[in-house]
């Protein structure tokens, strides 16, 4: 019982917190995959840019909350410009071109940040200090806030995709972009805005996790690997799948660290992915036709 309260429960909560933030990252990734037909390798760098944009805005305004609004907007604009300038010319080519391009973008963003900010580890202080007694343990307030805001955002995104016309348009673009264009929707604009939105979401995740993790130019690399696993596990292109899988991976990662060192955890996470793919090759929620 002591073990449960002192060790297992906090770790489980950590997992939920991390899973929710990972969900924000993976959601954007899976939607972009649906549109482009390739994984966006630069997604981890957009996450990283969110944290750095946050540092800049906090430096200027001394407010984490202002940064939480402004940083995603900045990264969203970077995303939109990137899409128009680099990805758009490649849409009519083989998906492989997009893959190589996003890989190059990732390197460019990472090195640009290293040039501007240096390679040092940086921190953002949690904007909400203190802890709260919870179920017999004490838990940091900021993490509770993180869980709450991520959940609210995930819910808002779900409502966007199911209840709003814009959300339905994005889903239709994932399913058949050319046909959607033929119905009168300006699909290139949908692509740009979706890319901007996914970039902003990645930035939100980067900034929200910054007070828990450290900020450095490589921070996106580790996260993007996990986000890829989440997207594959959830079923590539599946919105629901990526959220469910994000929580599974978040919780699995947290609980496994109790018994294993980090390298073995990484192996175990890949193990979970392999088992799921063997049993369900399209992932948990993948549907026929997404990959073809």
């Amino acid at each position: 019982m002591d073990y449960l309260v002192a060790v297992l429960l906090p770790q489980l909560l950590h997992g939920l917190v991390f899973g929710a933030a990972l969900g924000l990252l993976a959601l954007g990734l899976t939607v972009i995959f649906g549109l482009l037909g390739v994984m966006n390798f630069a997604h981890g760098e957009l996450y990283m840019l969110g944290a750095y944009a946050g540092i800049v805005v906090v430096g200027v305004t001394h407010s984490f909350w202002v940064a939480l609004i402004v940083a995603p907007l900045l990264v969203g604009v970077i995303g939109a410009v990137t899409e128009v300038a680099t990805l758009r010319p490649l849409y009519r080519r083989e998906p492989l071109y997009g893959l190589i391009l996003t890989f190059g973008l990732a390197l460019a963003f990472r090195e640009a940040v290293r040039q501007i900010f240096g390679g040092d580890m940086r921190r953002i202080l949690p904007p909400i200090p203190g802890s709260t007694p919870l179920l017999g343990m004490t838990y940091p307030n900021y993490r509770l806030f993180l869980l709450a805001i991520s959940s609210v955002l995930l819910l808002a995104i779900w409502l966007f995709f199911t209840k709003t016309r814009a959300g339905i348009v994005v889903r239709a673009a994932v399913q058949d972009a050319e046909m959607l264009d033929g119905l009168g929707v300006d699909v290139p604009r949908v692509f740009t805005l979706t890319f901007a939105g996914a970039a902003a979401l990645a930035a939100v995740a980067g900034l929200l996790l910054a007070p828990i993790f450290t900020v450095y130019p490589q921070m996106g690399v580790e996260m993007i690997l996990l986000a890829f696993i989440v997207v594959i596990l959830g079923g590539m292109g599946s919105i629901t799948g990526s959220v469910v899988a994000a929580f599974i991976i978040g919780i699995a990662q947290s609980l496994l660290t109790l018994w294993m060192n980090p390298q073995r955890v990484a192996i175990a996470i890949f193990g979970i992915m392999i088992v799921v793919l063997v049993v369900r090759p399209r992932g948990l929620f993948g549907r026929e036709g997404v990959l073809e």
């Binding site: 348009v169 239709a172 058949d176 050319e178 046909m179 264009d181 033929g182 119905l183 009168g184 300006d186």
Partner: protein, 235 residues
């Protein structure tokens, strides 16, 4: 209303259309016939803007639409009921139909309601399936949905690519009646069909396409009786 002049187009370096010219006048239903692989679908794609023509000209209501994007062409009143229907499988019937409104500027709630009512009047089956995902519909129902989608758009001309492909005879009759009904509603139709007998039954005129060019044209009655039709189409 729709004027295609000397259109050349193809995929990659492979030419498919070698100077196609045809005309569809307002209020007409025109059949475009030909065996598989003769370029009928390619012509549809080139008119819709899915494929950029290499040369030649497409005019709609007197204005050039060659090289415009599909959404610009759709917004001018061209509706496509494509080969294989291409409804959105993960979206419900309602969502599919509402996307049809995308071509309309200034979508009001009233217009949306009126158009939905109109579509359901012709296709009551869609009303029964309104909250089902497109993928759960039968082939015939998907075809109704694809037609309903362009009715939502209020398209002035509808390009239909093999709407009866793979459908049961009863459903073929239903679609045939629907094409007649579209004519009564004042919608112009360009119909690509394998089922030449059906197409010539509902259309006013017809063209026969072979290897990327028009080889024969005439009133439907003439095509029905002409030996050329039998020779070119094997019917």
């Amino acid at each position: 209303m729709l004027n295609v002049r000397d259109l050349h187009a193809g995929y990659g370096a492979t030419p498919i259309l070698f100077g196609v010219s045809l005309e569809v006048r307002e209020g007409e239903a025109v059949a475009l016939l030909g065996k598989n692989g003769m370029g009928k679908t390619t012509l549809m794609k080139a008119v819709m803007g899915f494929l950029r023509p290499w040369s030649g000209r497409v005019e709609f209501q007197g204005a050039g639409i060659t090289g415009l994007t599909p959404h610009e062409i759709a917004r001018r009143g061209v509706g496509l009921v494509p080969e294989n229907r291409r409804i959105f499988p993960g979206l419900t019937v309602r969502e599919n139909l509402e996307l049809g409104l995308s071509a309309v500027r200034g979508r009001s709630a009233g217009l949306r309601r009126d158009r939905l009512t109109e579509v359901f009047r012709h296709f009551p089956r869609l009303a029964e399936r309104i909250d089902q995902p497109g993928r759960t519909l039968s082939g015939g129902e998907q075809q109704m949905l694809a037609i309903g989608r362009v009715m939502m758009a209020g398209a002035r001309i509808i390009l239909m690519d093999e709407p009866t492909q793979g459908l049961a005879p009863a459903m073929v009759r239903h679609i045939r009646e629907m094409i007649r009904e579209l004519g009564r509603l004042g919608v112009t139709v360009l119909l690509v069909e394998q089922n030449a007998r059906m197409a010539l039954n509902v259309c006013d005129r017809g063209y026969i396409m072979e290897k990327g060019v028009i080889v024969f044209e005439g009133p439907a009655r003439e095509l029905r009786e002409s030996p050329v039709t039998r020779e070119k189409l094997g019917v």
